[in-house]
Symmetry: C2
Subunit: 482 residues, 2 copies
């Protein structure tokens, strides 16, 4: 236990309690205390944090622990690193001023299934290893639900879902994803696919005319739905750190769909500065940010970046899904909705299907509350990590001139092609050699950029991954010719 005393005086003292028996890493405990302090207003914007060495000594931890906590909060946009080596609480995001312009290009996030048959190896993305679905634990939760749930839960319910799941998900998301959720702001839906459909309906009801999507991004959910709803779609180019915010300022959009923790498909993480700028943009315009947090549970090399929603719960809709962690067939998703939109989203859900099925909702609530979800993720992370490592190893060995981009998280990796290789030609040659793989090109809206390949590795064993990369190397040799 220690106190974080900022240089702005005692009003900004922050109690940091470390529980060494909690099973929660110390840096996560420090992060959580500082994050909560900023949110509650106990740590004001501009307050300087103590040097890492000082805080570490005060808490009796190694300096690296504090460095890790600060870095994480910088990545999430709560803190800023100043030149001179000190760290401040970030500004509370007042209106910014920038110009507008219509031209753009880009798309949204992706959780589609791209399955093909007849390939020897298929790097199709958007797939989860459903052979690992925790059947016994799920059945235990179904049994609990069917033996203990009061009758009235099986009748018609309101559009938001069952209260048990609101509670359990709030606890989980606030703890693991750094959201600022309350049960009353949650709407349970049938996966992200329905969530984004409901949100687009509500945006249109509220007068939205133009929606910004990341370019590249998925091409079979937000893009199709927005078009069908009569919204104009504008793409915002994606760089190595996610969406380029200067283009957003010119886009004259009423909403943006983002994958800030792991851009789909390029893999970038939206920088802290860009997060803050996007939220400034949303506040200035009264716009809505839809945060598609599709695979944040799988981050292998560092702590996951917290959700943007926690920075601005009145402007960000958080979208989560069980499709990447448990199984797409569950069709379980959840939205954390700004208070002023909750009733409209719930009404859209009632009109769409009168609410999601209750047995699955109650089962997932029990599964979360028992800690089975955390247990399942702990079991799966090393599985996917080994597959990711096998992929990166094979690429280094067989195709060293392909450049893996973004952070290696989630369940796919993008590797960029050198300029001499045409993406479509490589994809076609790969198919001829029995390898299924998607290029980045089809996911671009209007933007151009280097050729790239999307490697979905979630359902492939390590030897299949190595075989797939070897097939790709053969295909690429063929494309290059003699």
């Amino acid at each position: 236990m220690g106190r974080l005393r900022t240089n702005s005086g005692p009003a900004e003292d922050l109690l940091i309690e470390l529980d060494r028996d909690a099973g929660v890493p110390l840096h996560r405990q420090i992060e959580a205390s500082i994050r909560a302090g900023i949110r509650a207003g106990r740590l004001r914007s501009g307050a300087s944090l103590p040097p890492t060495r000082t805080l570490a000594a005060g808490l009796g931890v190694s300096r690296g622990v504090v460095v890790e906590a600060y870095q994480q909060l910088v990545a999430e946009g709560y803190l800023v690193s100043r030149s001179g080596g000190y760290t401040q609480v970030a500004a509370p995001m007042p209106p910014a001023a920038t110009a507008a312009d219509g031209a753009g290009s880009a798309a949204s996030m992706a959780q589609p299934a791209a399955r093909s048959v007849g390939f020897r190896v298929d790097f199709g993305y958007g797939r989860t290893d459903v052979s690992q679905f925790p059947r016994s634990a799920w059945l235990r939760s179904v049994r609990t639900v069917l033996t203990t749930t009061p009758n009235d839960r099986f009748a018609y319910l309101d559009g938001r879902g069952v209260p048990e799941l609101h509670e359990a998900l709030c606890d989980y998301l606030n703890r693991v994803r750094g959201t600022s959720s309350v049960p009353d702001n949650m709407v349970i839906c049938n996966g992200y696919g329905q969530g984004i459909s409901l949100l687009i309906q509500v945006l249109v009801q509220h007068g939205a005319r133009r929606i910004a999507l990341e370019d590249p991004s998925s091409n079979d959910d937000a893009r199709v739905l927005a078009g069908a709803a009569g919204l104009e779609v504008v793409g915002i180019p994606v760089g190595p750190d996610g969406v380029q915010v200067d283009a957003l300022h010119r886009a004259d959009a009423d909403a943006i769909v983002l994958t800030p923790s792991h851009q789909w498909p390029t893999g970038g993480v939206l920088s802290a500065a860009a997060r803050a700028e996007v939220i400034r943009w949303a506040k200035r315009r009264g716009a809505i940010v839809v945060e598609d947090d599709y695979d944040a549970e799988y981050r292998y090399d560092r702590s996951p970046v917290g959700a943007m929603q926690g920075l601005a719960p009145d402007h960000v809709v958080y979208c989560g899904t069980a499709s990447k962690t448990l199984a797409p067939g569950l069709r379980l998703g959840w939205l954390v909705v700004p208070p002023h939109l909750v009733a409209d989203v719930a009404e859209a859900k009632v009109l769409a299907d009168r609410g999601s099925p209750v047995i699955d909702q109650l089962t997932f609530a029990d599964f979360l509350a028992r800690g089975e979800f955390d247990r399942h993720l702990r079991r799966m992370r090393p599985v996917y990590r080994r597959r990711r490592d096998a992929l990166l190893d094979a690429l280094r060995t067989h195709l060293p001139d392909l450049e893996p981009g973004g952070v290696a998280a989630g369940q796919h990796v993008v590797a960029w092609l050198p300029p001499d290789l045409d993406e479509a030609a490589v994809v076609a040659a790969a198919a001829r050699h029995g390898l299924g793989i998607h290029g980045v090109g089809p996911y671009r809206i209007a933007g151009t950029g280097p050729g790239g390949l999307i490697f979905g590795y979630a359902i492939l064993g390590e030897s299949a991954i190595a075989e797939g990369v070897a097939l790709l190397a053969t295909a690429i040799r063929e494309v290059r010719g003699p």
Copy 2:
């Protein structure tokens, strides 16, 4: 076993095989043979059937058995009774000729939940006795699913649902509801609420501008969705035998939503002649009939009337639901869709939510295949029948001048008020006495008609029903004054 030889010659012979050990009543077996013969073209339109006495003798059954079979098929529109006492195969519904006119009034069917709290007794409709949900049998099916289902069923599937459920439902619907379903024409959806939403989207895509709804009918599904989709809604007045087809001819509509087996809320059964006429209308205009078969499983005094879909599978979309038989919270519904619309409905389902949750679908398929659904219905029918009888007894005793209308089937009864009683005044007085009940008025579109009260009795015990009617009698005495 015997042969049904019509008077049109040997080409129209029909083999009727009776299996006395099948556990299927003989009249149902005869019905099924004749229905199949008409569908397959083996019994041509206009063919006269043998007199009941003759066929009974040929089959070695009592005449009443054949009479029952003929009556059922007349009710379903397959046969017509001619003056002179003989029975013919109905005409194959060629185009009819009638005029058009725009004015109309009316609505759609109803499965909404109207729950209120704070009433001593609540006759709110649309409720199922979820305390009777077959929890143990359902859990057995979940266990089977989770222990035996191949992994790939838990991945993304197409929009139509799981093949196991298509098969099981087809068997059930063709056997029990007289539909003409094949697995490839089925789309699983989240209850009728989503089904009608998808259908309205597809109708609009196909150029529909005007939709006819029964007047009165439910006011929170098709009516709201059609309005939101930009369709003009035209009400078709409902008489004692369901919708008045002459008004439909004047309505210039592209589709109609019907509750032919048990009109909601008035309880009428659409006559065989009217069914045939509606189908003629649909064929002539290329219009679609949406058959909302919401509560056909509960018919107490005679065989259920077969589904209209069986008469014209290319023009009728059949909609079924588990909300009235198992639990609304399951959000399980199914559509049998004309072949030319299946792909579009499935695509709308993919865009809406990428398909319904698979565990519930697989569980219901297993539940059906085990015969648990039939078993559950056999158990529930006498329960609801006793409640229906208790209601009718209490009305006879306490309120003999209210006139129960329609057939006593399903889970609600309408009783018409005598002319001196104002419906709204009675509903308000009932509420003051602690009785929740809905009038028919709010469900009318543009039509007028006598005042009526909708008694939902599904979740009330017999003593609560008697108490509720006594409260209503008190309220009505108060309205009438001294």
